[in-house]
Each structure stands twice: as structure tokens, then as C-alpha cells.
């Protein structure tokens, strides 16, 4: 990989400058191809028939576009022994992600608000201790969690997954809201306190309306994390209650009969579509979430 001299700081005029710009765009364009090619290959493969896959190459366009693979991936591909496609598992993921995101975001908002605007002795220690949960490798809680879910009668259920994602999402949501509220002036809250407004009154009347950007960032972050989760899904659910990521992996690894690459690719796109859509529609907030996840404390 050759690195062209960056041309932005000092801008020499003339031929040399033009050459630099051309080189710059060539490199940037090459990387665009690098990132887009897998998506293109997935798309192209999913629209081909198996015969065409066997005779063509990865990047050849489908000569005859067929949606059979998509229909099969959605409605009749076999996940283990059950052949209903990804549809029921998409539904599982939706049933899991909506409550888990809503609950963990709401709790994180109240928690972040209480820890910043109603500082009490020990608030910082409590925050630091809770933040630790965002860093642990989840392998270290898998075994006791499996037993706890068993005791609660939630083993292998979507409800159990909601609990797991809420509990372990709390560290992140608290972090996001705490960071946001740290930047909000205490003066407004103090004034409201003097006017006699209470804890929840100030929260719902004043703080929450201001926190809209933080809510959007948190919801997007949690949605992406929980939708894309595989570890908890594969460890705590069985068969019918699998989220879509686990089902996708099972579709790909179901080793009965002919390997249907087009169905695999269609299934992968279907499973990735919700988070991809969120990214395209709200990319700005998605990036902000990534940055907030990076700059801790």
C-alpha cells in the first residue's frame, strides 16, 4: 500500500497538485470498492439460480434475476429440522429488541439523571462500579446467568433474553445519559428545585425534553447491539425462541442436501437489513453513539 502525500494542508498549485488529487481519489475509490464489494457479491449471489452460481463467478451479474432464494430464505429454508425460513426468528428478534431497548434506555435515562443532577455521596463510585459492566467479557457471566434463568423459569425464552439484554445494556445506557447530563447546566435544575418541583417532575418536564438527542443515540446503539447479538442468543435460547442471528447461522450450517449459497446470502441480507436501514436513515446518530462508546468517563 503506498501512501500518497496528503495534499490538504499546503496546497501547491499546478500539475503536481492535480496529480496528488487524482491519486487521492484513486485510493479513496479503491477502498470504497473494498467495503462495497462484499455487499454487492451478497446481493448478486442472492439473485442468481444455483446453476448460475456454479457456472459464473462471484462478481458476475445475474443473467436472469430470480427472487426464489429470497422467498425461500424468508419462508421455507430449513433451520435445523424446522423449515419455515427466517420469518419466525425475525419476529423473535423484534419481540426481544423492542422491550429490551425501551426498558434499558428508560432505566439508563433515570439513572444517569439521578447520578448527575441529584448528586449524593457515593454517586460517582456507584457510577464507576456500574460502568465496569460495560467492559466485562460476557463469557464470565454465561454460566451463572444460564442457571439464574433456569431458576426464574425463563430458560430458553425470549423473555429471558429481554432480561439479559436489559441488565447488561444498563451500563451503556447509563454511561450515555450520564455523559449527556454532565453537559447540561445544573442551573436549570436548581431553579426548578427552588420552585418546588420534585425529582420526577423535573425529569419529565425539563430534563427529558432536552435529552432527545441522547435518547436517539442510545436507542440506536442499543438496537444495533441487541439485534446483532449472537452470544446470548445462542447460549440462552433453543430452537423456536432463537433470535434471527442464531437462525441465520443455523441456516448456513444446516448440512442436509445441496449447499444453497443464494439462500444463505439472501438470509444474511434479511438478517442484516434492520440495522443497515437504521444506519442509512440515522447514520449521524449511529456515529455519535460509536464515539460516545469510545470516549468513556
Amino acid at each position: 500500500m503506498t501512501q500518497p502525500a496528503p495534499a490538504g494542508i499546503v496546497r501547491p498549485k499546478g500539475l503536481r497538485h492535480r496529480l496528488m488529487r487524482i491519486l487521492l481519489f484513486a485510493v479513496l475509490g479503491t477502498f470504497c470498492l473494498y467495503y462495497l464489494l462484499p455487499l454487492f457479491i451478497m446481493m448478486a449471489t442472492s439473485l442468481k439460480s444455483l446453476d448460475e452460481i456454479r457456472t459464473g463467478t462471484l462478481v458476475s451479474l445475474p443473467r436472469q434475476i430470480t427472487f426464489d432464494a429470497w422467498l425461500k430464505a424468508w419462508g421455507s429454508a430449513c433451520v435445523g429440522v424446522r423449515c419455515d425460513g427466517l420469518k419466525p426468528y425475525m419476529w423473535n428478534s423484534v419481540l426481544m429488541v423492542v422491550p429490551a431497548v425501551a426498558i434499558s434506555t428508560a432505566l439508563g435515562a433515570v439513572n444517569g439523571y439521578a447520578l448527575t443532577k441529584w448528586r449524593f455521596p457515593g454517586a460517582n463510585t456507584i457510577f464507576a462500579l456500574m460502568l465496569f459492566g460495560a467492559f466485562i467479557p460476557f463469557q464470565v457471566v454465561l454460566l451463572p446467568m444460564a442457571r439464574t434463568l433456569g431458576v426464574l423459569g425463563l430458560a430458553g425464552s425470549v423473555t429471558g433474553l429481554i432480561l439479559v439484554h436489559t441488565v447488561y445494556g444498563l451500563a451503556f445506557t447509563t454511561l450515555f445519559f450520564r455523559n449527556f447530563f454532565m453537559g447540561v447546566s445544573d442551573g436549570i435544575v436548581q431553579a426548578a428545585k427552588i420552585d418546588g418541583a420534585g425529582f420526577f417532575g423535573i425529569f419529565s418536564q425539563i430534563v427529558l425534553p432536552m435529552a432527545l438527542p441522547a435518547i436517539v443515540v442510545t436507542v440506536i446503539w442499543q438496537f444495533t447491539q441487541i439485534w446483532n447479538d449472537f452470544l446470548f442468543g445462542v447460549a440462552f435460547t433453543v430452537g423456536d425462541s432463537n433470535p434471527v442471528t442464531v437462525a441465520l447461522n443455523n441456516v448456513v450450517n444446516t448440512s442436509t442436501g445441496v449447499k444453497e449459497y443464494n439462500v444463505d446470502m439472501a438470509a444474511a441480507i434479511i438478517a442484516g437489513l434492520p440495522t443497515l436501514l437504521v444506519y442509512v436513515l440515522a447514520g449521524k446518530y449511529f456515529v455519535r453513539g460509536l464515539a460516545a462508546g469510545a470516549v468513556k468517563g
Partner: protein, 300 residues
């Protein structure tokens, strides 16, 4: 005002003052139980002879001795080392390069940035599935190169025990390098223009300016992207499962897949717990010095 009403008001005030604590306590308790309690349980089990069922009789370090004597664990560790080194290096190099190139006042920067970053929105399972097909030994990239005229091109990394771990690196870098780019681009935007102008006046060329002025300022960004990438690498589980399933054999096993396999497939709870504790210790070794310096820096 009557005595009772006064007392009621006082009680309400006390309640109101305690409300923040009342709200925080159950959440804190949940965190104590589900994070610290669970970690304690796993650590405890790692010092027992637990097999299919947990046993609570302490047995010293026997599980750790068994763990380190297991060849599969050694493979997992050396894979983690290879993966960590290459994944972090390549993501950082590509991320820094793209951030610098994108910082050259490019009109369609928004579009390009969106393209570079979209893999981050995908699940590692989706990424793994896609790359499993692209790297397919017969029909994938090998066929493509043949059709381009490279008849002798041979590519079987996915099923080659020596090379399979590198396919995990390829897919991992594809997914995460855009993230590093975004971090560095944000960092570059916050560098004071005056410093750059001063360097230009001193006669430093663009390359020198970046190498000796701008990048050193970005030290915190290097540090936080290192932490994030190391964290991702140590926890990597989904990508391996989707791409190679840990195979061929256990050639691409990593600590996370090792732990899962011993916990849920082979039901050797003690060994699984010991491997999980090793993972936690590795992450702590990376995170704690970082958090310590961050918190100390913040309180100054």
C-alpha cells in the same frame, strides 16, 4: 396548619430527598448481582472440581492446571495472539490512512464516510456468512481469479488449518477498520488549525506535518482505538462461529469459542469457568490502566 399536615409535609420532603437514592438503588443492586455476583460465582467455580454439575468443594488450582495443559486452549491463545496483533495493526493503519485522506477537503466526504462505516452496523454473523462465501475454496475468490486468467491461483485458507485464522483477520478488518477511521476523523477535526499553519510556515511538508505534528497530538485517539479493538478481539466469538465454526478441527478456536464449547457442548463447567476467568483477567489487564489514567486525568 395542623400538626398532622406539618408532619406529612416533612415526611414527603424526606422522601423527596431520598428519591434519587431510591431510584438508583435497585439498578445498582441489579448490577451488583448480575455483574459482580456472577463474576464471583464463576471465579469460585473455577476453583472447584465442577463437571457437568457445579460442585462447591474447593479444589485449588486444578482447573487452571488442566486448562493450561489442554492443547486446544494453547491453540486458542496463540490464535488470539495472531488475531489481536494483525487485527489491531491493520485496522489502525487503514483507519488512520483513510481518516487523513478523507480530511483533505473532499466534497463527497459524507458519502464516502457512510460507505466506509456501514459494515460496523452489521452483525458479525452476517459478515462471517458473507466472507465464508467469498473465500469459498472452490466457487469463491479462486474461481474469480481463474476467470481473470490466473489459472494457477490457489486459495484454500478457509479449510487450511495453518491459514484459516487469517480469514478471520480478513473479515474482522473489513468490518472494523471503518470504525477506526471515524474515530481518527473526529480526532483530526479537533486539531487546532493554528498548529498546522505554524508547521506549514516552518516549512514542514504535508507528510512531515502529519508524521511529526498531527499524529503525536492524536495519542489519546490511538489509545482509545487500541482499547476498543483489543476489547473486540478478545471477545470475538460470533465472527469465528460464522466464518469457520472454530475449524477445521479446532484450528481457529479462540478463548471465547473455547469457553462456549466447554460450557455448553462438553459441559465441563470448571474448565469453562477457568477459561472465562482468564479472559476477564486479560481484559482487565488492558482496561484497568486505561480507566485509571482516564479517571485520574478527569479529576485533575
Amino acid at each position: 396548619m395542623s400538626q398532622a399536615a406539618k408532619r406529612g409535609l416533612a415526611a414527603r420532603r424526606i422522601l423527596e430527598r431520598q428519591l434519587p437514592k431510591i431510584v438508583v438503588s435497585p439498578l445498582f443492586a441489579a448490577s451488583l448481582f448480575f455483574v459482580y455476583g456472577f463474576i464471583a460465582w464463576t471465579v469460585y467455580i473455577s476453583f472447584t472440581r465442577s463437571g457437568v454439575l457445579p460442585s462447591y468443594t474447593l479444589d485449588g488450582l486444578s482447573q487452571y492446571i488442566r486448562l493450561w495443559a489442554t492443547p486446544r486452549w494453547q491453540v486458542a491463545l496463540s490464535n488470539l495472539f495472531i488475531f489481536c496483533t494483525l487485527f489491531i495493526t491493520l485496522c489502525t493503519v487503514i483507519g488512520v490512512l483513510l481518516a487523513i485522506l478523507l480530511d483533505q477537503r473532499i466534497r463527497i466526504e459524507g458519502v464516502i464516510r457512510t460507505v466506509y462505516l456501514y459494515p460496523m452496523a452489521l452483525s458479525f454473523i452476517v459478515t462471517g456468512t458473507a466472507w465464508k462465501w467469498i473465500l469459498n475454496p472452490g466457487l469463491g475468490i479462486e474461481r474469480l481469479m481463474h476467470s481473470l486468467g490466473f489459472a494457477n491461483f490457489h486459495f484454500d485458507w478457509l479449510v487450511n488449518p495453518q491459514m484459516a485464522i487469517y480469514t478471520v483477520v480478513i473479515a474482522g478488518v473489513w468490518q472494523s477498520s471503518g470504525y477506526v477511521m471515524a474515530l481518527f476523523l473526529a480526532g483530526l477535526r479537533s486539531v487546532d488549525d493554528e498548529i498546522i499553519k505554524a508547521a506549514a510556515i516552518d516549512g514542514a511538508g504535508p507528510l512531515r506535518t502529519y508524521a511529526s505534528v498531527v499524529l503525536p497530538i492524536m495519542r489519546p485517539v490511538f489509545l482509545s482505538s487500541f482499547i476498543i479493538l483489543a476489547h473486540l478481539a478478545i471477545k470475538s466469538f460470533d465472527l469465528v462461529v460464522a466464518l469457520t465454526g472454530g475449524g477445521p478441527g479446532y484450528a481457529t478456536d479462540m478463548p471465547a469459542t473455547f469457553m462456549y464449547s466447554f460450557a455448553f457442548q462438553r459441559s465441563e463447567l470448571g474448565t469453562a469457568a477457568a477459561s472465562a476467568v482468564m479472559m476477564l483477567a486479560t481484559i482487565l489487564a488492558v482496561i484497568v490502566p486505561y480507566l485509571y489514567s482516564e479517571l485520574r486525568g478527569a479529576s485533575k
